[in-house]
């Protein structure tokens, strides 16, 4: 049993962005235990000022390459809210499909490429290529199918170019939708294979729980209350496991949920709602909406024993696998609906007006908020945004504070591994979280 521990992970690997872990234990006393975020700030919030309403999604998409579709979608919808623009059901469904493609791509990337090496005791996916060639190829295939779907619907894989306030620049053809459908149907067995591979090493997920608050969207859109899409990633209001019967909060009031503050150990802001910290992630969505997940999603959760109310942060990867199954099934439902109605051409006419707008969306790694204000010419005068990883930083810190005393008897190496795995389990997008903070524009 070691009484002295000195962990200094300068830039945790296999995560998006830069984060450090620092732990000092002397004679069994924890002197320091910190999750630090030293990512270079990029000041997007300052940079959008003066830009036109139809350039906003192009700029803020660059907050994050991994969730660029979520950023583009939520920005477009916040602009539409400000300019009082309504989109057709057809556009709404196509945008959902674009979003589902990113959720699938990002979840497969996270579980398959970033988390799986930990479970197999490897430092990356590279050594797994010769050892588990078929499994790696199955993961790559699912990733490719998701990306091809993004490319068709978004104009390219990352940083979509088909979104514009009021509609889409280009709608998919019925032939393209049928092609996506057949690809998605074909990867259903592959997703089951991926789940079985992860299940074979799931005993490597640490047995650690800490009760916390889980925040996510809850579906309120009348069109989707009775569909698979009742499990919401896109429409709806903000809820949490601490709401205890209090009604959900509309996206326009997200600042009262996030309550952002600056921590000296982070260039990204931290958040808290009903208690010291909360989690925003796939596990949060699952804990708030588990009964609404698709049949295959339920089956996947069941394979791993994942149940509503789970407070083991390492199980977020399992919740992501269940969501992979869910988004494939929901995508198939959406494509069928679109094909049954046929794709109709749309025209988009926008008249700039002054106003402030807000939107919320579930990025792959948790709930994401954007707000903008425009003058009468449609030029942006103010923006504010809060990224899921921001919302998880304080929760990671509190997890560390429970995890270190629980596992420090296992020694420095085992503890360091568990802490790195914990950070990874949140699927952080650190560069995101540092890119868009509180914005106040004073003329």
């Amino acid at each position: 049993m070691s009484k002295n521990i000195n962990i200094n992970v300068h830039h945790v690997t296999r995560i998006e962005g830069h984060g450090n872990i620092v732990v000092n234990v002397t004679d069994g006393t924890i002197e320091k235990c910190q999750w630090q975020v030293p990512e270079a700030p990029r000041f997007f919030e300052a940079m959008v000022r003066g830009r036109r309403y139809d350039d906003i999604q192009t700029i803020v998409s660059r907050i994050c390459g991994i969730c660029s579709i979520s950023h583009s979608l939520v920005a477009t919808r916040a602009v539409e809210d400000a300019l009082k623009l309504e989109v057709s059901e057809q556009t709404d469904r196509v945008r959902h499909l674009l979003h589902f493609s990113e959720l699938l791509q990002s979840h497969v990337l996270h579980v398959g490429y970033l988390v799986a090496p930990d479970l197999f005791g490897e430092k990356s996916v590279v050594p797994l290529i010769p050892k588990a060639t078929d499994a790696v190829k199955t993961i790559i295939k699912a990733h490719r199918v998701a990306n091809q779907m993004s490319a068709i619907l978004g104009g390219r894989i990352t940083h979509p170019v088909t979104l514009r306030p009021g509609g889409m620049t280009r709608l998919p053809t019925e032939e393209q939708l049928r092609a996506i459908k057949s690809e998605l149907e074909a990867i259903v067995p592959d997703l089951v294979t991926i789940c079985e591979v992860v299940l074979s090493v799931a005993d490597q997920l640490p047995n650690f729980t800490r009760e916390t608050e889980y925040v996510s969207l809850t579906q309120t859109h009348p069109r989707y209350m009775e569909s698979l899409n009742a499990y919401s990633f896109y429409h709806g209001d903000i809820t949490s496991t601490d709401c205890n019967g209090d009604g959900p909060v509309p996206p326009s009031r997200w600042e009262r949920v996030a309550n952002e503050y600056v921590s000296p150990q982070s260039t990204a802001k931290w958040t808290k709602w009903h208690r010291d910290s909360y989690a925003a992630c796939a596990l949060a969505r699952f804990n708030n909406q588990a009964e609404k997940i698709s049949p295959l999603g339920k089956k996947v959760a069941g394979m791993f024993g994942l149940e509503k109310g789970c407070c083991n942060p390492y199980m977020n990867s399992v919740a992501q696998l269940a969501e992979c199954a869910h988004v494939v099934e929901t995508s198939l439902e959406f494509i069928d609906t679109l094909l049954s109605k046929g794709i109709e051409p749309e025209t988009v006419n926008v008249t700039p007006r002054a106003g402030r707008g807000h939107a919320a969306i579930e990025a792959p790694r948790g709930i994401l908020f954007h707000s903008y204000e425009f003058d009468k010419n449609g030029e942006c005068v103010w923006g504010n945004c809060c990224i899921p990883t921001n919302q998880n930083h304080a929760n990671i810190q509190h997890d560390f504070e429970k995890l270190v005393p629980e596992f420090m008897d296992e020694g420095e190496d085992a503890l360091r591994q568990k802490m790195e795995m914990l950070v990874r389990s949140y699927d952080p997008c650190v560069s995101c979280s540092t890119h868009y903070l509180d914005i106040e524009f004073i003329k």
Binding site: H11, T13, R14, I15, E16, P38, A40, P41, R42, F43, F44, E45, A46, M47, R49, R51, D55, T58, I59, R62, I63, C64, G65, I66, S68, L109, Y113, L114, S124, V126, I129, V136, K137, I140, K141, H143, R144, N147, G154, G155, R156, I157, T158, H159, V161, T162, R164, T169, R170, V262, P264, S266, T267, S431, H435, L437, D438, I439, E440, F441
Partner: protein, 243 residues
Amino acid sequence: MSKPRVAIFDFACCEGCQLQIVNIEEEIIDLVGAVDVVEWREAMSEQSHEYDIAIIEGSITRPEDEHRVQIIRTRAKILIALGACATIGGVNKMKNNFDLNEVKRCVYGQDAGMPHLATTTTRAVHEVVDVDYKIHGCPIEGEEFKRIIRDLLLGKTPFVPNYPVCVECKERENVCRYEYNEICLGPIIRAGCGAPCPTAQWRCFGCRGLVDNPNVDAAQEVMEQYNLTLDDLKQKMVLFNSK
């Protein structure tokens, strides 16, 4: 002959260009077979100080990052700037259009003075250290990335187009964006992307930077034809091509 050692590093950026490397999908297996990837923080836990090729993603925005990229330069035989943030500064340079202290106050309010929030003028990588090759775009194109890496492994000088996006846009038989009353940067921006934005019916916003000698006269003609001015065109350069 031993395989070249390759290291990938990221600075201020969205890491979307690294993602494009992952997005070459099945061919990544061939890539990691052809080279020895010794450091890639986003994908691997290994780290190394010895490498032949350094791939740099992102802009340089802090003194400590300037120092870090200088050290990487001394260690690398070949240094490649990956993506718009590295090749031209990209969206990060929009910050340079404002007073830096005001930008910090705008974002961090009363906490702007905290030392860990320091920032400097955004620079592209070649504005800090010598860059041997540039892979353009926001994000980069996977096909172009593969071709450039393959050429380097074969000892060839990679081809980078020095003609405007309009050439590739015409090849794809798109209707000119100016016909839709949009100001498109295609006439002056470097091709190589295959014009995905105009093909998706959205104007070129200039993520690959200017061609070496933009044909200003021709651009002016286009602008005049649509009752626009060169200033209108310059306004659109702000997004990815600020100074």
